[in-house]
Symmetry: C2
Subunit: 653 residues, 2 copies
């Protein structure tokens, strides 16, 4: 664990700042003093036993400098015991992954000497966050200085301060040298190579690394489809008939890659120690409110909110709202098709330059309207999910993801479904698909990476210019105080949500309709290669460092991708049934054709489910390691009992 500014002297002991707490400018002094003392208090007294230090004044670069910024760190011993608290899994001497315990620390592979480099900085930051989160009120009835901010025994102090806005943010610090190294191996190197997933995980934690692992895996998995698609494009491009084979390949491929990803992600998670790590008991999310009561699981006092009430809100308000929005989106789509039809008739009647331009107008309007609807819907979805008052952050996230997912799916694919199955116009379908893919690709890259980077860069430049004015910069490194303030001003990374959503929609384009536009896989592969670079870049340069998230899999997204691949079977079979090549086999009876198509579709679906069932989710060698661990713990328990029994019988004798 090295930091560019090695250590700050604090009450005699060396101290590496890891996490920053930013309180409001006008935070009451007594509240600040109380918070600091609670953080510093030894654990026996219910404190967090962490080191905390006020950030010194900067060189005055910002107009209004917030003095209420605090650096939090911890002694090595405290971090190790914290690692045991959060249930960290580390590599053992025998190569297996085991839960870290202080008493057993010397048997862990990378534990050398005092264990200085045993924990990565991301892990230390995660531990500190966990310790801060579980810092609980004792007998305080309110936050000192804020009589309105009620507390009760067992309430997480940090979450209360966050929900009341007294604590503005809490974020981990970047580690400039390591970041530079990571940037280099990740995206600056000219040589083409795999992403340094282990380094990413080391710096950003497992959640991020899994996203980048998925991105890379998915891109590679699409290469065969892209190659076949390219061949189709080069040789059979105008021959829609030939897409039957391609569609079949599509369906099987999609199922396979998702199943294999599960295995791959299990390997990654095992090696990163998150696969068998038990989740700690989840705290209520900061925004959760309700009548004070006793949690039936922990016995702690906390707000309770009846589940029935939440279900009512979900099924009687949120669900109808989502359905209404879907209907609206459908309605807008129908207007778009009418407008386009009208523009086409105008152009056909009297084709001039202006009517030629008119042809584009409906698409442009439609794209803008959809974008606006997306933004409004996103806000509404967040509001509704907040209002549903979920107790856990994870359940909040799942409900939000589901809402946004369905709407985005509808917005992106409804028009394509309409063109494919109602209008049955394959040429138009191909055109729309190409347009959608290419524009969304360009737009995404611009909105996601270049825009935030440009804004950030402008701000930084201004700052450095100011700094230059005040004093000459001897070394290029900023002093710690400035560095921290700079990072505090960076945008907050909002998690992998939008990144996964983008991949989900791209997967949809490829799996649902790629048989009519074989180049789509090629486009997605190209997009993803740039996406890896732009995502890596924005993680390293644009955003605040996020706290690491000990994820064992990609969670609800696995389900979403699998649902998409089921829908893909249906659409691909329908497209096959509609292809002239297949229709030629059933010259007399359309009914026969449909019955065969349906039968084949059912067969494929059954095959898909059987395949999902047959392929184990965890590779054999990892299963063996997991069951060995379980077996050993059972044996140890037995041995311990036998010892106790023999001691008991001896004492009786």
């Amino acid at each position: 664990m090295k930091l560019q500014e090695p250590s700050v002297e604090s009450s005699g002991s060396t101290f590496t700042p890891l996490v920053v707490l930013e309180l409001t400018l006008d935070a009451k002094e007594e509240a600040v003093a109380w918070l600091l003392s609670r953080i510093r208090d030894p654990q026996q007294n219910g404190g967090a036993e962490l080191l905390v230090e006020q950030l010194g004044p900067g060189v005055g670069l910002q107009e209004k400098e917030n003095p209420n910024m605090f650096l939090v760190g911890a002694s090595r011993q405290r971090l190790l015991s914290g690692a045991e608290d959060v249930g960290l899994f580390k590599e053992f001497n025998d190569g297996s992954m085991r839960g870290f315990t202080c008493s057993n620390k010397h048997n862990f592979k990378d534990f050398q000497g005092d264990g200085d480099n045993f924990l990565s900085m991301a892990e230390c930051q995660y531990i500190i966050k966990h310790e801060l989160d579980t810092l609980r009120a004792k007998d305080e009835t309110h936050v000192p200085g804020y009589t309105q901010t009620k507390l009760y025994p067992g309430k997480s102090i940090i979450r209360r301060l966050l929900s009341k806005g007294i604590l503005i943010q809490i974020f981990p610090l970047h580690e400039n040298e390591e970041l530079k190294r990571l940037c280099f191996t990740w995206y600056k190197k000219v040589k083409l190579s795999l992403q340094p997933l282990d380094d990413i995980r080391h710096y950003y934690g497992e959640g991020q690394a899994l996203y980048f692992g998925f991105l890379e895996y998915f891109t590679f998995a699409l290469v065969p489809m892209a190659l076949i698609g390219l061949l189709y494009y080069l040789f059979d491009w105008e021959d829609y008939d030939k897409y039957v084979v391609f569609a079949m390949f599509n369906v099987i491929w999609c199922t396979l890659i998702l199943e294999l990803w599960k295995r791959f992600s299990a390997s990654l998670a095992y090696n990163w120690g998150t696969l068998s790590r038990k989740k700690a008991f989840e705290e209520p999310r900061p925004g959760f409110h309700g009548v004070l009561g006793f949690n039936p699981v922990t016995g702690r006092q906390e707000p309770l909110y009846p589940n029935a009430k939440r279900q009512l809100r979900i099924y009687l308000v949120s669900l109808p709202f989502v359905l209404l929005c879907l209907y609206l989106s459908l309605y807008v789509m129908m207007i778009y098709f009418q407008m386009e039809g009208w523009a086409l008739t105008v152009h056909d009647e009297d084709p001039t330059f202006w009517t030629g331009i008119l042809l584009f107008i409906p698409s442009i309007i439609y794209a803008i309207v959809i974008e606006i609807m997306n933004i409004i819907y996103r806000c509404a979805a967040e509001f509704l999910t907040e209002w549903e008052n979920h107790r856990l952050e994870s359940s909040y996230q799942n409900h939000l993801v589901l809402k946004v997912l369905i709407f985005n799916f509808f917005n992106c694919f409804a028009s394509l479904f309409y063109i494919a199955f109602i209008m049955q116009d394959m040429v138009l379908l191909r055109q729309s698909l190409a347009t959608l893919l290419i524009t969304s690709q360009i737009l995404n890259q611009f909105m996601e990476a270049f825009l935030p980077y440009w804004l950030q860069r402008r701000r930084n430049k201004k700052l450095i210019r100011k700094l230059r004015k005040r004093r000459t910069l001897e070394d290029k490194e900023l002093p710690l105080a400035e560095q921290v303030r700079l990072e505090a001003d960076m945008s907050t990374y909002l998690g992998t949500f939008d990144d996964y959503l983008e991949q989900f929609l791209l997967f949809g384009y490829v799996s649902l309709f790629s048989c009519v536009y074989p180049l789509s896989a090629v486009l997605v592969v190209l997009n993803n290669i740039t996406e890896i670079y732009s995502d890596a870049f924005k993680m390293c340069r644009v955003f605040k460092r996020p706290f690491s998230d000990p994820a064992a899999n990609i969670g609800v997204w696995q389900l979403a991708f699998e649902a998409m691949s089921v829908i893909a079977v249906v659409t691909n079979c329908a497209l096959i049934g509609m292809s002239p090549q297949v229709k030629a086999y059933f010259p007399e009876s359309e009914m026969q054709l449909i019955l065969w198509t349906v039968a084949i579709e059912h067969g494929l679906l059954a095959f898909k489910f059987i395949l999902t069932f047959l392929i184990p989710d965890v590779p054999k060698h990892i299963q063996i390691k997991l069951s060995r661990l379980e077996f050993e713990s059972l044996e140890a328990l037995k041995k311990k009992k036998m010892l106790e029994a023999s001691e008991f019988s001896k004492s009786v004798q």
Copy 2:
């Protein structure tokens, strides 16, 4: 734990016989002596520390009395420590279920005094079986007296003796008084009431109790369908058109009852302590063979068999064989339909009494052929599954169940599918369904209960007559030695396999086609009511007592029933699409009708999966109890660590 013959004096301590070991008549004396000493040895020396006693000679009722029968029991202390070994869950003082530990025994609800009635007899027998199963060879290279029967350190002795035929059987003893009580509350009582599931579980263990629980639940769940079916039968019987509503109800009902069963079974399993009980590491099954090597999980020496080889056997031999059998069964079916067609033409040309009888001949031949095929296939399936050489009994069972399931499904339903969808003859479908249901019902009851009972009764009567000859029976109770020999001769209960299979096929009749024959649910309900009685009767009177099996759910059968309910959606939708009532809506275009049917089917399937996803598998109040247990163990761990840390800091000071 009471037994009719309270105790046998053995080496000074009282001794309740629980389990019987029967060795071959010609077992070598040194082998017997060695086995007994290993069973008696204290645990420190690697023995089982159980009590074992040779069964005294009977009054010579049987022609050839086997002297090598041994009664096994254990001291109370040993049983309690065994309960901890097998991870028994018992009710705690606070009403939750916790893993039993000897050190904490007084905090368990039913533990009074010395814990005399704390463990049920079934539990004691299970514990003894577990201890015998895990009695391992030390440094013996072979069984004394049998140089061919190799042993190696860590090999389970009992399993080796069983697989070599030196040990004939090992079975738990009945407990006559309790059995009488159970019989009374279960099936002899005249008053109609629910089955005494807790008593059944107490006497036979969780696996049996779950089967009877399922049988009862399933019967109740069918009552609404039976009622609606009866109404249809009474008022709409000849009007096939009306079955659309019934089919819809069918589909939704099937999904719901299976989901709710999962919740109900979770409640039962929780209250019986098997839901969160961890399975002990499974031993290789007795028939498993391979090259000696080291198990990668346990590190113990045991036969290893490469998984790839097993997969090859499954996919290259078993799978083709099953497919061939299915083809054969299809072929036989086609011959049956041809024969029936021929008989019909003969009868139509010149109807006499003899041609009237001829009409029944094909059905009878078909039924006999199917029954023969079933028997042959069952043997072949057992042979193949044995030959696949599965390491675990559970995996052997799953593969066997799957093979038998598919073939039985095919045999039972192929002809119905043919009649429904190829011949599209609803009247014939209804006739066949009724015939199949009624005959299978009568046949089953006869084969399952009355025949074995009659055989058993004849044997018992002979025995008692013999006994009368020798001496006058003062009391009606048999002496223990005779009782044990009598039980040893009873048929062995082969598990719930056939019972579940029967329910599975009945569920198929109801869910797949009941809309054309609404009375089928009524018939199944009637069948199940008698089934409960006959199954209870045969458990109590016909079979040896089985070892209890700590099941937490109905295992692979849940999956089988769910698969059936998916198929039911497809068939019901197809039947709806074929109904004249629906056809009337689409007078011009059959294509429109099919497309609509398919769309509705997809919608229903999607709805079904969403429903499965939305209904939690474990009821909320049990989830809370489970997570409280987990939370408490985490907290205890934390507290323990804190204590250690504070002790450490004190010792440093």
